[in-house]
């Protein structure tokens, strides 16, 4: 059997197992919207741990991470820095969101927001922003899967077929089992990613340089500029401290607001599950260290791949590894891609139906589930189309979408913590923040100190939210009090010891 055939067999095996797990997962879930979108609120710690780990670290981390370390050096360290910074507040925010979700029956984050700040246009706007941010994200995951398969099978399976196969399977299990499939396949894929990354991260430098230390000594002698922050830009110029630091900030602020992650608060079995997921998160995050090491291993390699993102498959194919290892690596990369892609497809369709359609048109439980399935297919098709006809613009779109997603933070935090926030305040803050973000995205030369456009957006967003809220009338104080009461977990009286925002307690009934 030829080498590529053996590799193909391993990949096929991996895909079959994933499909099996995905289809099996749905058998126990109830046939309701809560079952399809929020897993009957029954996810335990193991599943939650891998959902957050495997979903957050997508094909971008597995292929892009080594690519960054390889071409931009220490610039990649920003990815290592932000994860837990973004997740830690969830130890407190997550249970609050989950309690409100249980009390009022929310399954998406927009429902939570609109529950506190009733406004149909707000619901539609958030749904639209979510879909716009998701499409390039899914497209990149699909391309990642296709690229890996094409590379390791010596182009015997071209990109269109590889991406089609991998995502055909994703769509099949998301359609049949909903979030339960996402949860259980992510668990399998997460374990896979961890094992493959750590194994290769230690094995490759050993094989090529005789160890991790010797490898970095050689890089320090020949390319020292790669080993200190802030590293280089994509063009190979030194990156700025302002750009590097605000990339960490905007990612930390935005990361937990990605709808496919936020919504999992509603899928957790209980508050302690959410808390433990946060506590354990750093242990997953550290897998970025071997991922970067893999990228650095390519720096002194005599040849170079056409694009930095291909460094991982490139190295794997050139270092005469056994076919088994190559096949497993490929499965690891597919895991990274598919575990994010499935969550995105599922969450995107759920948000589109729950927040984009339902506020305007009454739908039964059965119709909602049917419409979600149609939209999973439609989003998959659109992303597949873009995946085949790609330009650089998609990567750019994805990076800019972080700036937009970060604008979801102030409204959601005020919904859960700040009594005096009002609908006009939240809507005008969101519009102003998004407008500023988009302006500086397109006029990037005007950004002061190379600050990230999302941070500049927040600098306008927050004062507008607070200012407009304070000059508009306090709305429905009893309803707000009941909402925040549910968020605190039903404790009586106004003074729960919950720290956090400390933002204006003023403005009473």
């Amino acid at each position: 059997m030829a080498r590529w055939q053996l590799i193909t067999v391993i990949i096929a095996l991996y895909l079959t197992i994933t499909l099996g797990i995905g289809l099996r997962a749905g058998r126990k879930a109830s046939k309701s919207v809560t079952g399809y979108v929020a897993g009957d609120r029954a996810f335990g710690l193991l599943v939650m741990y891998f959902i957050f780990g495997a979903t957050m670290f997508s094909a971008f981390a597995f292929l892009g991470g080594p690519g960054w370390a390889y071409s931009r050096g220490a610039a990649a360290f920003y990815i290592l820095s932000y994860g837990i910074l973004g997740m830690a507040p969830w130890y407190w925010v997550g249970p609050r969101a989950a309690r409100v979700g249980r009390e009022y029956g929310y399954v998406t984050q927009v429902q939570l927001l609109v529950g506190r700040f009733p406004s149909k246009p707000l619901s539609a706007l958030m749904a639209l922003l979510t879909i716009l941010a998701f499409i390039p994200y899914i497209t990149l995951q699909m391309r990642g899967a296709g690229i890996v398969i094409e590379a390791v099978t010596d182009s015997h399976i071209p990109l269109w077929l590889g991406a089609g196969l991998a995502y055909g399977i994703v769509i099949l299990y998301v359609l049949s089992s909903g979030v339960a499939a996402v949860g259980w396949t992510n668990t399998f894929q997460g374990i896979f990613m961890l094992v493959i990354a750590w194994t290769l991260g230690i094995y490759l430098p050993m094989r090529l340089y005789g160890g991790v230390g010797p490898m970095f000594e050689q890089i320090a002698a020949q390319r020292p500029e790669l080993l200190t922050v802030p590293g280089l830009t994509a063009e190979g110029e030194p990156w700025t401290w302002g750009g590097y630091s605000t990339a960490i900030l905007v990612s930390a602020i935005g990361v937990s607001m990605w709808p496919h992650l936020f919504m999992k608060a509603f899928a957790a079995r209980d508050d302690n599950t959410i808390r433990r997921t946060v506590v354990l998160f750093p242990t997953f995050q550290l897998f970025l260290i071997p991922v970067f090491i893999i990228g650095f291993a390519g720096v002194l390699f005599p040849e170079s791949p056409g694009e930095p993102d291909f460094i991982l498959p490139f190295l794997i194919l050139r270092s005469d590894l056994p076919a088994l290892v190559v096949g497993l690596f490929c499965a690891g990369a597919l895991s990274a891609s598919m575990s994010t892609g499935d969550a995105l497809l599922h969450a995107g369709a759920s948000v589109a139906v729950e927040d984009g359609v339902r506020p305007f048109k009454k739908l039964g439980d059965e119709d909602q589930r049917k419409l979600m399935r149609i939209l999973v297919l439609a989003m998959g098709a659109v992303a597949y189309f873009f995946a085949l006809y790609e330009g650089v613009s998609l990567v750019v779109l994805l990076l800019s979408s972080y700036g937009i997603i970060a604008q979801f933070t102030p409204p959601l935090i005020s919904a859960l913590y700040w009594k005096r926030a009002t609908t006009p305040g939240v809507v005008s803050g969101l519009l102003a923040g998004s407008a500023v973000t988009l302006f500086f995205f397109f006029q990037s030369d005007l950004r002061p100190l190379d600050l990230h456009e999302g941070i500049l957006g927040l600098l306008v967003h927050i004062p507008v939210l607070v200012g407009v809220s304070l000059i508009t009338r306090d709305q429905e104080p009893e309803k707000t009090e009941a909402f925040l009461h549910a968020a605190r977990g039903g404790l009586t009286g106004g003074s729960s010891g919950t720290g956090g925002t400390g933002a204006g307690q003023g403005g009473g009934e």
């Binding site: 820095s81 160890g211 970095f216 401290w241 960490i248 506590v279 010891g497």
Partner: protein, 87 residues
């Protein structure tokens, strides 16, 4: 009346423990942000000495990530003891 007073005092004590835990954690994560961005990162932004084979800059960030794990474990222990089941 006396019993009620005692229960209230205990509940107050419990809340103040929680408050201090949360303040402590907030302070830790603020230092974390400072330590990995400008200007806090600058003094530690160097290649040598390599630690565990890693450049010092990378090791420095990894230490903060790992410490946050320890801090969160501690927070969870303390919170678990003083949080009422519905808090």
């Amino acid at each position: 009346m006396n019993f009620r007073g005692l229960a209230e005092r205990q509940s107050e004590l419990r809340r103040s423990k929680l408050r201090w835990t949360r303040r402590g954690a907030t302070v830790f994560f603020l230092f974390f942000v400072l330590a990995v961005t400008w200007p806090g990162m600058a003094p530690f932004n160097r290649i040598h000495p390599l630690v565990l084979g890693l450049p010092f800059s990378m090791f420095w960030i990894a230490v903060w990530v790992f410490s946050s794990f320890l801090v969160l474990v501690a927070v969870d222990k303390i919170e678990g003891r003083f949080r009422e089941e519905d808090d």
